[in-house]
């Protein structure tokens, strides 16, 4: 009886998530190779719009690789090659005439280590807006964006100091703010809190939850609690070794976060989320 109730709940949650949203990013049979080394294989995944999607899985399971494909950051790595099809709002991201710069203007990225530009706090925000031809009042934009990123009160007296003079957590929020300034559709975050303390981590998580009203967020994380706290959907990636001793990274399971963490379908997912490996 109780079990039946849980199933109904789970079903209704997943149903509601399915019906309310449509995919903004879609991966069809995506494989990535670095030189001749395969990094991920045959990924099929729909990232729902205006939701937070978390990628979890052990190190080296290809989460970051897939994330970096969405805004073509892998283009900057020599020898990286993508097979399959990756679309954004139905448009092939790797189409013949696609300019990676145009992709990145719509799909921003925050990196593992905070990487403010070696410029002032103000310029860190203004840079992206300026190169994207923002026509409005720059001072107003900088203040609005910093308020949006819950950073204004902390940095309003330091606007002309180097972005590198801020604390690690502030730097990372500055990096998120810098992305907000270009008004993207999607924000990709590659383990944004792995170099931060718990308090800074919570602040960033609060920020992400607030931002998802307006943006689609994809976050790679090693922290399963973080995935549970911030995400609506979770994808579990795993590094598997097949019978011929070949490593194979694949997407094991993709489900609403509550479903994945309460009733995972796959054995590997169950083992990973219960802390048996990884």
């Amino acid at each position: 009886m109780r079990l039946g109730l849980v199933w109904v709940m789970v079903f209704s949650i997943s149903l509601s998530l399915h019906t309310q949203t449509r995919a903004i990013l879609q991966a069809e049979n995506v494989s990535v190779q670095y030189g001749s080394v395969p990094a991920i294989q045959d990924i099929n995944l729909d990232i729902p719009k205006n939701r937070v999607t978390a990628f979890i899985g052990p190190s080296g399971s290809g989460k970051s690789t897939l994330l970096r494909c969405f805004n073509r950051m892998n283009d900057t790595i020599p020898g990286a090659r993508l097979l399959g099809r990756l679309t954004f709002e139905g448009v092939d991201l790797y189409g013949r005439n696609v300019d990676p710069v145009q992709v990145r203007r719509r799909i921003g990225m925050v990196f593992q280590r905070p990487n403010p530009l070696p410029k002032s706090v103000y310029e860190n925000i203004a840079f992206g807006a300026r190169i994207n031809g923002y026509p409005g009042d720059m001072d107003e934009l900088v203040e609005r964006i910093l308020r949006r990123a819950a950073l204004w009160d902390e940095v309003k007296d330091k606007l002309w100091q180097s972005g590198l003079s801020l604390s690690g957590g502030q730097q990372q929020r500055l990096c998120i703010a810098r992305i907000l300034a270009i008004e993207p559709k999607v924000i990709l975050l590659d383990e944004p809190c792995s170099a931060l303390d718990p308090v800074s981590t919570l602040r960033i998580e609060d920020l992400l939850i607030e931002l998802k009203q307006q943006y689609t967020i994809v976050i790679v994380t090693h922290n399963m609690q973080q995935a549970m706290r911030v995400s609506d959907w979770t994808a579990f990636f795993n590094a598997e070794v097949d019978a011929h001793d070949h490593r194979k990274n694949r997407l094991v399971e993709f489900a609403p976060t509550k479903v994945l963490f309460s009733t995972p379908k796959e054995r590997a997912t169950q083992d990973y989320i219960s802390g048996r490996f990884g």
């Binding site: 710069v101 992206g128 270009i182």
Partner: protein, 296 residues
Amino acid sequence: MTTIQESLGSSPEVNLERKKSSSKNLFGILMTGLTAVFTLFILVPLFALVFDVARQGLPRLGLQSFTQLPPPPGLTEGCFGNAIVGTLIVLAVAAAFAVPIGVLAAIYLNEFGKGSKIAYWVRFGANVLTGVPAIIAGLFAYTVVVLAMGRFSAFSGGVALAVVMLPIVMRTTEEGLLIVPQEVRQGSLAVGATKFQTISRIVVPAALPTIATAVTLGLARAAGEAAPLLFTALNNNFWSTDLFRPIATLPVLIYFFSIIPYRAQQEIAWAAALVLLGLVLIVSVIARVVTAKRRF
């Protein structure tokens, strides 16, 4: 068999005092002393040189050094104002060639051609160029510019010095670009900057202190060269700012005046050496001051 614990001493009490007489500590003291002595050895020639040049050059130095023409042999009145102006002009010509070429080549090597065959050979060429004697740079400018134009000129001297400067500017700039973290480039690309915007607005400004150092190093090296100027810029006993005429420069003036047997001329050579040292020093200090504020 003794354990490490036993070798520390038989006493049950914990003794953490420094044992001055132990062989490890004595050896440490000895080596510290040796390194200090050899450090002094490095400083001695530098200070001796600066001191000697100052001692011999100061008596002749004065306001007239910067305004008067060198005296003909036998006369004593005069100085080397024209050579100071000449050195600055020739260096400006050299920088006008070497800085853009060197900086742009370094940008190519580090931002575009990384790991490519061209980059390898360009870097190899620059290394060879660093080792080429300066007089060969002069010969090059003599063949390419002086013979083509049919006369000695400040311009050809600048070209010769540019060859001397070029590898220094390029390699030092390259090192400056190399220490700009890769994450910074990615951060810029991730907000939708093009490669050109990333390089021109983020990477090069971040590397500016090192680029300034590169230019200073190159200028300092070129400022002291006499050999490449002997058969390019030649010399001039009169005021000249004409790029296409022979021009006096400090190193060449020092060279000529130090080998002629007149007391006045030799004193002028010492004073010129002092001015040359000061010039290099001032350029270095300015470059440091201008760029010291910017850090990663």
